[in-house]
Amino acid sequence: MFNFIKKLFYKTDKSSEFQYKDIATAINESFNNTTNNSTASKKITPSTDIEKNKRYITTVFQKCSDIMLRELNITSNPNYKAVCIYIANMIPTELMEDTVLRKLTQAPQDSSFPTDIKTYCMSLLGVAEDDMLDDMNKIVDAIVEGELVLFVNGINKAFTVDIKRPPARAVDIPPTESVLRGPREGFNESHGTNVCLVRKKIKSPNLKTEGFKIGKETKTNITMMYMSNIANKKIVDEVRNRINKIDIDSVLGASYIEEYIEDNPFSIFPTIFRTEKPDVAAGKILEGRIVIFVDTIPVALSVPSIFGEYFMSPDDYYLRFYVATLNRWVRMLAFVLSLALPSAYVSLITYHQELLPTSLIISVIRGRANIPFPPMFEALFMVTTYLVLQEADVRMPKTMGQSVSIVGGLVVGQAAINAGIVSAHMIIIVAFSAVASLAVPTVELQLPLSYARVLLLILGGFGGMVGLTCGLIAMIMHLLSLRSFGVPFLAPVGPLKPSELKDIFIRAPLWSLKKLPKTITWKDSYRRKGRPATNPITQENKERQN
């Protein structure tokens, strides 16, 4: 601490600076050393002797009890030894026996057997020469990926067969996004399944899927999906660059990728949209966005994202547009109320009592007659209680559910009022704003909302309406300055583009959303036409009338 002050206010002497720099470079170098090990390693070719290969594999994978080595004789001929190496739980035994073992150990049917054991295996397993691995490092990678690796005595390359079936959850209803109407499939942990679910919806060769492997220890598969004729090439290139630059040891959640590629790491608002439903992801792709899938994580990330997206629920597009528009207004109103209502109430009753109607003032005074705390602290107390309850709710095991909810209700409810700790008005306001925050469809926005609410509460409690307005203005300025991969976050309201507003505040009928959203694709092209003027049914009706 003292060093910090010294450094800030006095001129540091050169030697200590040098020392500081030195430590940093030392750390960097050691880090680089670990990375250098795996990438710049030399190529090791397998030997033709199967025993040597076996020994190499067993030394690399010593103390790994789930790596299996199964020896077999090709065509049951003891001269042709082979060994299969695989991970036990990745490959179901019957599958392996059916597809690989039985085929290999069968005696050949025709007598034109093996001129060459290599061509025989290649034709039997369906592997081409180029696909065979000749680098032990790559073979180790393949084993770890879960593939079946076959060494044959006499061949210095290894065969790989991809029959892995890792354990995975079934395709199920996503727990955080529920809809009234519309498909209920959700992503699961296998990224192959996820990509396939999207392919089911978009049957076009323009749907590109680019793959990456990120993470030194986890080697997670990342897939980037976009439509090459719709998405903006600059944004696609930018996303690709950023993903390629990620230098990380493990990828265990989508947020690992998200935090590396996002534009504004210090903002409380998310600039990358997440979804668990394939129809939402397909919709985003068709609007020109890029969707990123991460293996073992049931979430799709979509870039670039704008603020309006966080108020859209997939239901909007599956219900009629009047209802959808009203639903959107309700959500936006809920967002604003949830954010500002406690702060407005506290600042009004603390500083601006003349702005409330007289009867309300009378009932508030009567209600607060014996409350010991000032309104701001009372509100903070209530909001904190709600935050704690919210956390407890997520962690609550099902077996303890009943008792916890009863206790929670008691704390917040009548008992608190009767004890004179909080007033009834405050409970109503805070409970309403807490429930209103749940009306926002995306979880990423609900949680920042709770904390922004506390910030505004403190500002309103200390500064009155002036403080609250300043806080809201600061929030709006912050939102206006955010960019998501080059697209302004508050577009099309931020830089105002009236033609794009059709899908933000209202949900215009699908037949009127004819153009692609220009803010994302920067293209000015039509994707659908309007309703046909003469629908066959109305034509018939008209003829019947005449």
Partner: protein
């Protein structure tokens, strides 16, 4: 690195600034005494007595509309005497545990003796206090303001709201003039128009209604800022006819043809114009009303003879004209004060001449000629057309 140091310095300065402001700028709501009504009187030794009707904060909100109502528990009345308004409030505050808050004052009532001495300074103070809103009613009472503020109506817990509702209702009926703080101030700063304020009194208890209530009775007329005289109910209505503010109410008159007739007014409007003929000033007032017949003695059949309604209308016009002339006479002859704003009418129509006339308006006003034209339209005779009897 230099900018970091500068930044830190400025950061400390600014944070210390804001720490200054955090203290002492809060007004806790439960520590406020809401003043619901304000009464100002003058004491015999020329000091000001202020009476305040305050909300009692200690009553719990769970009253189930008890049988004996709120027997004085909802409000507290405090008064103090001092040399000025603020002095008196300060004296009263010696027995208050909380700070008074004027933001919800429903009305201000001023006693007659103080009004006669002049209330210009008092009204100026009210306007300077930012808590008073400009649409706060000001009332005059014939006795002491203390009585009005103290009065507890039996049926409703907060008497200030009773007065407020009374005030608003009477406005439409036309038996009280427009008397908000803003209008009084405007009339005071205007050289020629005289200010008018509504009068409120307590009713005399009778056998049927043993408790006292409030009664609006007429208008108080001011010369500059001193009370000069009163107008009765009918004269007040005459004034309001000229202002075009009578929206609801009934006109009763006796005619030879139809007997006693009562018509209910639906709407009315008025136009005041000044005409100068050389040196002679005359004012023309055109009033248009629409009304329905409600009570009529004679037997009529308006379906057969629709022109009956025209004749009734003419009779009604005469009655309204009488009311207006009552007011005019009172204002011109007895008081000599321009309460109708005729001076402003001349100003609007003849701006150049007004510059010369403005100084002498007081002497010119009693001699101006006023022509009143009333045009009444009887819209219908209610639900039934023929007489029922």
């Amino acid at each position: 690195m230099l900018w970091k140091k500068i930044l830190l310095c400025f950061l400390t300065i600014s944070i210390s600034f804001s720490a200054i402001g955090c203290s002492g700028n809060k007004k806790e709501i439960q520590r406020l005494f809401i003043v619901l009504a304000l009464g100002v009187d003058s004491t015999p030794d020329d000091r000001i007595e202020v009476t305040m009707q305050l909300l009692n904060p200690n009553v719990s909100g769970q009253q189930t509309g008890g049988t004996d109502g709120a027997s004085g528990r909802d409000i507290i009345v405090l008064s103090g005497i001092g040399d000025t308004f603020f002095d008196a409030v300060f004296q009263a505050s010696k027995s208050m545990s909380q700070v008074q808050h004027f933001g919800h004052t429903k009305y201000i009532v001023i006693g007659e003796t103080l009004a006669r001495k002049g209330i210009g300074d008092l009204v100026d103070s009210f306007i300077r206090i930012e808590e008073f809103r400009l649409n706060t009613p000001i009332l005059i009472t014939k006795g002491k303001a203390l009585e009005i503020v103290k009065l507890q109506t039996p049926k409703s817990p907060i008497p200030a709201i009773v007065v407020e509702n009374l005030f608003l209702r009477q406005e439409m009926i036309g038996y009280r003039p427009f008397s908000y703080l803003l209008d009084f101030e405007n009339s005071l700063t205007n050289d020629t128009t005289s200010a008018v304020l509504a009068v409120i009194n307590t009713s005399k208890p009778s056998e049927d209604t043993p408790d006292k209530t409030f009664v609006m009775s007429g208008t108080a007329v001011f010369k500059k800022d001193k009370l000069a005289g009163y107008l009765t109910d009918k004269e007040t209505r005459g004034l309001q006819w000229v202002n075009g503010k009578v929206q609801v109410g009934s006109v009763t008159f006796v005619s030879e043809e139809f007997g006693k007739v009562s018509c209910e007014i639906v709407k009315s409007s008025s136009k005041v114009k000044a005409i100068m003929d050389g040196d002679k000033i005359s004012i023309e007032i055109n009033i248009k009303t629409t009304s329905d017949v409600r009570r009529i003695s004679a037997k009529i059949d308006p379906v057969k003879q629709p022109e009956i309604l025209d004749r009734i209308g003419k009779e009604q016009s005469k009655a309204i004209k009488n009311e207006i002339e009552l007011a005019l006479n009172e204002s011109k002859d007895n008081l000599g004060l321009d309460i109708f704003g005729f001076g402003e009418a001349v100003h609007r129509n003849y701006p150049k001449e007004w510059k010369k006339l403005q100084k002498n308006w007081d002497s010119l006003y009693p001699n101006i000629e006023v022509k009143v034209n009333v045009d009444s339209t009887i819209r219908s005779t209610g639900l039934s057309n023929k007489s029922a009897k």
